[in-house]
C-alpha cells in the first residue's frame, strides 16, 4: 500500500510537482467552459456506465459458475458446449458480438411482424437489453474460463474433508467448493472486471448514452476534442481504482501467509 512516507521521496515529490503543474496547465490552457452545461448529462452517463458494469458483471459471474463447473467436472455433453461457448466469446471481438445481437437480430424483425405485437416488444425496442446481454455473455465467457481453473484448483483434500463429514452435495458446493474457487479466482477476477469496465464504451455504438457517449456528444456539439477525452480517461481511472481497491479488500478477507 502507498503510505505517506513512501511518497515523500525527493524524486516522487518532483514527479508530483510535475503532475500538479500538468494539471494546472490543463486547467488553465484547455477549455473547460463546457462542463457546467454538460454536467447533468455526464453524471447520467457515468451512472449508466457503473450500472451496466455492475449488472453485467454480476449476471456474467453467475453464468460463469455453471460454465466453469461444467468444464471442470461436467460430463462431456455439458463440458463441450460450455467450452465451445467460451471459445467463441473469447475468439471474436465484443464489438462484433454487440452488433450481431443488436443489428443482426434487428434485421430479422421486419420479417416477423408478430414480434412487434408481442409483450416483449417494449423491451426488444430498447438498446439496453442487447447491451446487457452482450456484455453479460462476454463476461461469462471470459470468467467461465477463469472459474474452470479455479474450481479445479481447489485441493482435493478440502472436498474430501467435506465428504467425510457427510455434507450433502449442494451444501458442500455452497460452503466449501465455491467459496474456495472464488478465493482462487479473485485476483484474476479483479483484472477481468476492469477489462469489463473498459469494454462498456462499446455499447455507445448501439445508441446507449453512457460516459463515452457523453464525451463524444461534447466533442460533436462543441468540437472540443481533447478535453472531454482527458476527463473521460480520469473518470475511468477513478472507477478502475475503486474496483482495484475493492477487490484487494475482498482478497484480504481471507489473509494469505507471507503477504
Amino acid at each position: 500500500m502507498i503510505t505517506l512516507r513512501s511518497l515523500l521521496v525527493p524524486h516522487r515529490i518532483a514527479m508530483m510537482a510535475v503532475f500538479a503543474a500538468l494539471v494546472l496547465w490543463c486547467a488553465y490552457a484547455l477549455r473547460w467552459d463546457w462542463i457546467p452545461k454538460y454536467a447533468p448529462l455526464a453524471a447520467e452517463g457515468i451512472w449508466r456506465t457503473i450500472w451496466i458494469l455492475a449488472v453485467t458483471s454480476v449476471l456474467g459471474f453467475l453464468l460463469a459458475i455453471p460454465l466453469g463447473l461444467a468444464q471442470a467436472i461436467g460430463p462431456w455433453y455439458l463440458a463441450a458446449p460450455a467450452r465451445t461457448f467460451c471459445t467463441i466469446i473469447r475468439g471474436t471481438p465484443l464489438l462484433l458480438q454487440i452488433w450481431l445481437l443488436y443489428y443482426g437480430l434487428g434485421s430479422l424483425f421486419p420479417q416477423y411482424p408478430w414480434i412487434r405485437e408481442s409483450e416483449l416488444w417494449p423491451y426488444l425496442r430498447q438498446a439496453w437489453p442487447y447491451a446487457v446481454l452482450a456484455l453479460t455473455l462476454s463476461y461469462a465467457g471470459y470468467e467461465g474460463e477463469v472459474m474452470r481453473g479455479a474450481f479445479s484448483g481447489v485441493a482435493r483434500g478440502q472436498i474430501e474433508a467435506a465428504q467425510a463429514f457427510g455434507m450433502p452435495r449442494f451444501t458442500m458446493f455452497r460452503r466449501i467448493w465455491l467459496p474456495q474457487a472464488i478465493q482462487n479466482a479473485l485476483p484474476t477476477l479483479g483484472g477481468e472486471t476492469i477489462l469489463q469496465l473498459k469494454a462498456t464504451p462499446l455499447v455507445a455504438t448501439i445508441a446507449i448514452v453512457e460516459s463515452y457517449a457523453v464525451a463524444s456528444r461534447v466533442r460533436q456539439d462543441t468540437f472540443i476534442v481533447y478535453e472531454p477525452l482527458l476527463l473521460l480517461a480520469v473518470v475511468y481511472m477513478v472507477i478502475a481504482g475503486i474496483l482495484a481497491y475493492g477487490f484487494r479488500k475482498l482478497e484480504q478477507r481471507v489473509p494469505v501467509k507471507g503477504h
Binding site: 434487428g106 434485421s107 430498447q126 438498446a127 448514452v209 456539439d221 468540437f223 476534442v225
Partner: protein, 234 residues
C-alpha cells in the same frame, strides 16, 4: 502536392458508398473528382470515421472534408467552408402507417433517431427534445435499420439520402412525412467543403473548382446520373 479529401468511412448512399471492389462511388465522389480536376488539384479520397472527421482535419490527417457536411455557424467556429455545392431540405421519415408529422406536436411521445455530429442532431435537440425521445446513432445507416426494424418511430435526415433508402427494399416500410421548419442558423446554408481555418489557398481553389463545374455543365451531368432534378438548391 497531394490533397487529402476526407469522406465519411461509413457508406452514405447515394452520395458516397463502397462497391464490392473497394472503390468509393456515388454522386459526391464524382463531384469531388470533377472539382479537383477543374481546380487542378491532385486529390486523394481518404475515408475517415464521421465521428472523428473534424479532429482529423484539424489534426492534419486530411486537408478537406467533402462528406455532405452542412455549413453551419457552429462548425465555422472551428473550420472554414468553401461555397456550397448542394443543398437539400431536411425531412422526417417514418413508417407509412404511423401518424407522424414533422412538428413537435406530430412527434410527441415518439422515438426519433438522428445521426451524431449532424445538423439533424442539433436541430432535433433544439426543437424536439421536449416532445420526443431522441436517440443518437453513429451512422444514418444504423438509424435506417432501426427504423425498418421498428425500434424507432422516425428519423430526421437529408431528403435525398432518404429518397434512396425509401426506394430500397429495406425502406419499403417508410415514407417522407414532410420537411421540418427551416432554421438556417442550425440547418445552415447547404453543403460545402470544410478546410482548416486559415487555409484560404485551398478554399479558393475548391471554390474555383465548384464554380467551374457548375459553369461548364459537368455538375449537371453528374447529377443526372443520380437524381431526377437538380439538388443545388436555392
Amino acid at each position: 502536392q497531394e490533397v487529402k479529401i476526407g469522406i465519411a468511412a461509413e457508406p452514405y448512399p447515394p452520395f458516397a458508398s463502397l462497391d464490392a471492389s473497394g472503390n468509393w462511388v456515388g454522386w459526391e465522389v464524382e463531384i469531388i473528382n470533377a472539382v479537383c480536376a477543374a481546380a487542378e488539384l491532385n486529390c486523394v479520397i481518404t475515408p475517415v470515421a464521421w465521428d472523428g472527421i473534424i479532429p482529423s482535419l484539424t489534426g492534419q490527417q486530411i486537408d478537406a472534408i467533402m462528406a455532405s457536411m452542412s455549413i453551419t455557424e457552429e462548425r465555422m467556429q472551428t473550420i472554414d467552408f468553401s461555397d456550397k455545392y448542394y443543398n437539400t431540405p431536411t425531412v422526417i421519415v417514418a413508417d407509412k402507417s404511423a401518424d407522424i408529422a414533422p412538428t413537435p406536436e406530430g412527434l410527441a411521445g415518439k422515438i426519433l433517431g438522428v445521426q451524431a455530429s449532424t445538423i439533424h442532431q442539433t436541430y432535433a435537440q433544439q426543437y424536439f427534445t421536449d416532445a420526443a425521445e431522441i436517440r443518437v446513432y453513429q451512422t444514418q445507416d444504423e438509424i435506417n435499420q432501426d427504423l425498418a426494424s421498428g425500434r424507432i418511430d422516425a428519423t430526421q435526415a437529408d431528403s435525398i439520402a432518404m429518397d434512396d433508402f425509401i426506394n430500397s427494399d429495406a425502406g419499403a416500410c417508410c415514407e417522407i412525412k414532410g420537411a421540418v421548419a427551416d432554421d438556417p442558423s442550425i440547418l445552415g446554408s447547404g453543403v460545402g467543403a470544410g478546410v482548416r481555418k486559415g487555409d484560404d489557398a485551398l478554399r479558393e481553389k475548391l471554390n474555383a473548382g465548384i464554380a467551374a463545374i457548375r459553369a461548364d455543365g459537368t455538375y449537371d451531368k453528374i447529377t443526372e446520373g443520380y437524381f431526377s432534378s437538380s439538388i443545388y438548391g436555392g
